[in-house]
């Protein structure tokens, strides 16, 4: 029996992080639901036991059903028949298995039929699904929309739609338009209020909509006629049963072929307002986007894990010059780096999940009673970390996912270029991760404020205050030196006194900060469990060398150099 949760001990290591005690305690409000719900935990151990058991179920479905289906899903793909998307047969089986297992809606409160799980096991499930089939990770991951409905919609909408999620009703987030991609402020799809029918009406076109034929759609639209920017946009819920959307085409893509990507025409489609008018983009989409970026980061880790395993297996089996190719330095260096990069992005993935958990839990608590001063500052602290870690994580996870898929194919040599091995599909599936839900370039725009306002540096100092085993002291010193150099580099960039030049080197600054943070996270992992020492050493060594390069560039950058690139 293949089980993607049980065959990867690192997942349990991250699930059992010491901070989980606090998260689960808050999530379960002191374990007071056990009387009301048979599935609610009695205490911390009971809750963690459930997390593990449910991840085991998902790991088994991933290993036994979703992964074996992935090749055919990629070949067959979804079909558009009479304005309806029919998933590939494998996708349908995947979906049905997860619905029957009762795992959809894991993160929703129990009163809406959810399991009330923390973000950590929820995102871990997304990683497992992505390792099995990157395209299916989208259909699974779009249940994130429920989170937005839960946080912002009226009680009436919540009661009508949230209980559908555990039943396997699918979602889509309809944001992009032909002329509004990265710049969502330019969204034109029109929303007008229909007094007679007492509902909103949507008219216009959406493009590149993943899972475009979903049951429940969250649509960004211009509700304020005559407005031109983000403040004129509101958020709407459209229900597929109203049959007022035409699927104009389904895209032919490089990868994630199992996930239908649609161009849609809204024809006077009835819709209901989510939350308040005019907060669509500036508040709700930003929140939804943070969740979606976490999802793509998990997808990146999952695809990277799958690619690494394919490369490792091939390198052990393939013999050249009388031995397995894994024994050649040029090959095992690639594999060691891949392992270290995966360990790095995975540890940041779950660190970010814990920040998201805590910031949401304090927000929730704040709705129930007034927070103490200490609680309020904890909430702000975790909100700030969520805001800067999410784009940094999405950047690093998706870029590493691509690098790992590239190297994993390289290990296969010419064979990898053929369609005979899964790595060819994984390489194609990896490519989208650094593009959708905000390109890498846009993640830099979001993360750079953590560099310029010193938030990353503050968190780095916080990591540095931990005491580590003496055998790790050398690595810690290396990170301290990197931090000192990073501060100088930031100073140099600030001294350009030129916004365009600063933007020009922004990616280098963000990546330099990320290298240090990933280094500290791996150091903490190595401190908690010795087996992560190898990855910590490999990663910090490489990151140090990389940061020298970035520093040399930023420190010697002078006025006008950016001009010559034009």
């Amino acid at each position: 029996m293949e089980n993607f949760f049980l065959d990867n001990e690192t997942l349990k290591f991250h699930l059992m992080h010491p901070l989980m005690k606090k998260i689960v305690e808050m999530k379960e409000c002191g374990y007071n639901e056990a009387q009301q719900y048979e599935i609610a935990p009695f205490d911390y151990d009971d809750a963690m036991d459930s997390y593990e058991k449910i991840l085991e179920i998902i790991g088994e479905i991933c290993g036994e059903i979703i992964a074996p289906n992935a090749e055919n899903v990629d070949l067959e793909g979804p079909k558009l028949v009479d304005n309806e998307v029919i998933y590939a047969s494998g996708t349908q089986q995947n979906q049905q298995s997860l619905i029957n297992a009762g795992v959809y809606g894991m993160a929703l409160p129990r009163r809406y039929g959810g399991l009330n799980f923390s973000m950590v096991p929820y995102v871990m499930a997304a990683e497992l699904v992505a390792r099995a089939d990157g395209s299916f990770a989208n259909i699974w991951g779009l249940q994130d929309c429920a989170e937005t409905i839960y946080e912002f919609a009226s009680e009436e909408l919540k009661e009508a739609y949230l209980p559908l999620i555990p039943k396997g009703f699918t979602c889509s987030m309809d944001l992009t338009e032909p002329d509004a991609g990265s710049d969502l402020q330019a969204v034109q799809l029109k929303a007008t209020f229909d007094e007679k029918a007492n509902c909103w009406r949507l008219n216009g076109v959406k493009r590149f909509i993943t899972n475009g034929d979903a049951h429940i759609k969250l649509v960004l639209a211009r509700s304020e006629a005559g407005s031109g920017d983000g403040r004129g946009l509101s958020y709407f819920l459209y229900d597929r049963k109203d049959k007022a959307v035409t699927i104009r085409r389904m895209e032919h893509k490089l990868g994630i072929k199992g996930a239908p990507t649609c161009e849609l025409v809204f024809n006077n489609a009835p819709a209901q307002l989510v939350g308040e008018q005019r907060l669509g983009l500036i508040k709700y989409v930003m929140t939804l986007m943070n969740g979606a970026r976490l999802g793509v980061a998990a997808q990146g880790v999952g695809i990277a894990e799958a690619a690494y395993r394919e490369a490792l297996k091939y390198a052990r089996e393939r013999e050249q010059f009388g031995k397995s190719i894994i024994h050649f330095p040029a090959v095992y260096e690639m594999l060691g780096n891949m392992r270290a990069k995966i360990d790095a992005i995975r540890t940041m993935l779950y660190e970010t999940c814990r920040f998201v958990d805590l910031s949401k839990l304090y927000e929730q608590l704040g709705k129930e009673r007034s927070l103490t001063g200490e609680e309020r500052s904890e909430m702000k602290h975790y909100q700030r970390l969520t805001d800067i870690y999410t784009p940094m994580l999405k950047l690093m996870s998706s870029e590493y996912c691509n690098q790992i898929a590239y190297d994993a194919l390289q290990v296969h040599g010419g064979t990898g270029y053929m369609q005979d091995f899964p790595i060819e599909r994984l390489y194609r599936d990896a490519r989208i991760t650094s593009i959708y839900e905000g390109t890498s370039q846009l993640q830099v725009v979001a993360a750079i404020k953590g560099v310029s306002n010193g938030s990353f540096l503050k968190q780095i100092k916080e990591y540095d205050s931990m005491e580590v085993n003496s055998n790790l002291a050398g690595l810690q010193m290396q990170l301290q030196e990197m931090t000192a150099r990073f501060e100088k580099m930031c100073e140099a960039a600030k001294n350009y006194n030129n916004a365009e030049m600063y933007d020009f080197v922004a990616r280098r600054l963000v990546e330099a900060a990320a290298n240090i943070i990933l280094g500290y996270l791996l150091l903490a992992d190595a401190d908690r469990c010795e087996k992560y020492t190898a990855s910590a050493r490999i990663f910090i060594g490489a990151a140090n060398a990389q940061n020298f390069e970035k520093e040399a560039f930023v420190n010697s950058f002078s006025a006008g150099i950016n001009e010559i690139y034009k």
Binding site: P41, D49, K53, I54, I57, I61, N100, G102, V103
Partner: protein
């Protein structure tokens, strides 16, 4: 009256991935070295029972397993997948039972449930006898359908099934009550359900509860389905002489380690004449027929 279904399931050592230490010096199975699993065919049997329940939602599925105290895992696994209740048949006096003694004990246990339908796997991977199911049917005077592969239709009066036979398939219909042995080619059992896992992981036998610190008294009063009843020789009113070693006519005389070695080899070309020759020889040896 709602349909009552009994599923018989066995906990077995996982003999599918056998390592060096799978057998002890004396030729018996080293159970400690092999993980204990749900007998694969019995999972197919549970799935077929669940399909019957889907067709007839009033039906109740009871799982009976016979084995040491830790076999309670089998009952929980069944509850996770959709069974309604489970019983563990456990008693030191059952130790050493062969298929005759086992089928006697199980038939006595099944009788307590008064089922309309009994499902069990064709065989267990530790003994591979495929005798227990048919023997139980004989003892209960139930008709039986063996090697079932697919459920075609079911009502509270009759069932129709597809059987997997050596040279093809056969569709049969029979009136209830009935015992069915289910073949490994039948649909695989569904995955555990998250909600049922979170609920039934607290299902325990009385002897398991003595080892657990948490006080379950109140929870069990509220949710009686979380009690896994333990049945022993007295509960099923069995005759001691028919159980264990004394009730087992099968005696293991000797166990041999079989090492397959290559005895002879022949090179054959791909010419038609050689292929013809090879086929003739294989047919004479009854390797192909």
């Amino acid at each position: 009256m709602s349909l009552k279904i009994v599923v018989l399931a066995k906990q077995v050592p996982d003999t599918r991935n056998v390592g060096k230490d799978a057998m002890k010096e004396d030729g018996t199975v080293n159970r400690a070295a092999l993980p204990a699993i749900f007998n694969p065919d019995d999972l197919n049997a549970l799935e077929m029972a669940l399909q019957v329940k889907e067709a007839l939602p009033d039906a109740e599925i009871l799982v009976i397993t016979m084995g040491p105290p830790r076999a309670a895992d089998i009952v929980r696994e069944s509850l996770y997948r959709g069974a309604d209740r489970g019983f563990l048949l456990t008693d030191a006096k059952f130790a050493g039972s062969d298929t005759l003694a086992t089928s006697y004990a199980l038939s006595k246990a099944v009788m307590r449930c008064q089922p309309d339908l009994i499902f069990c796997g064709v065989q267990a991977i530790d003994g591979d006898t495929a005798q227990v199911g048919p023997q139980i049917a004989e003892k209960l005077n139930f008709p039986q359908i063996t090697y079932a592969e697919a459920l075609i239709a079911v009502s509270s009066k009759k069932i129709s099934l597809k059987r997997r036979l050596e040279h093809g398939v056969e569709t049969v219909e029979a009136a209830l009550p009935l015992l069915v042995t289910v073949h490994s080619s039948a649909p695989a059992c569904r995955a555990r359900n998250a909600r049922r896992v979170m609920q039934f992981k607290h299902a325990h036998t009385p002897s398991e509860l003595t080892g657990i610190a948490r006080d379950y008294t109140q929870i069990y009063r509220q949710h009686p389905c979380l009690n896994i009843e333990e049945w022993n020789v007295q509960t099923i009113e069995a005759d001691l002489a028919k159980l264990g070693l004394s009730g087992s006519p099968t005696k293991v005389k000797k166990v041999d380690n079989v090492v397959l070695v290559q005895k002879e080899s022949k090179q054959m070309s791909d010419s038609d004449a050689d292929v013809e020759l090879m086929i003739t020889e294989l047919m004479e040896n009854h390797i192909i027929g």
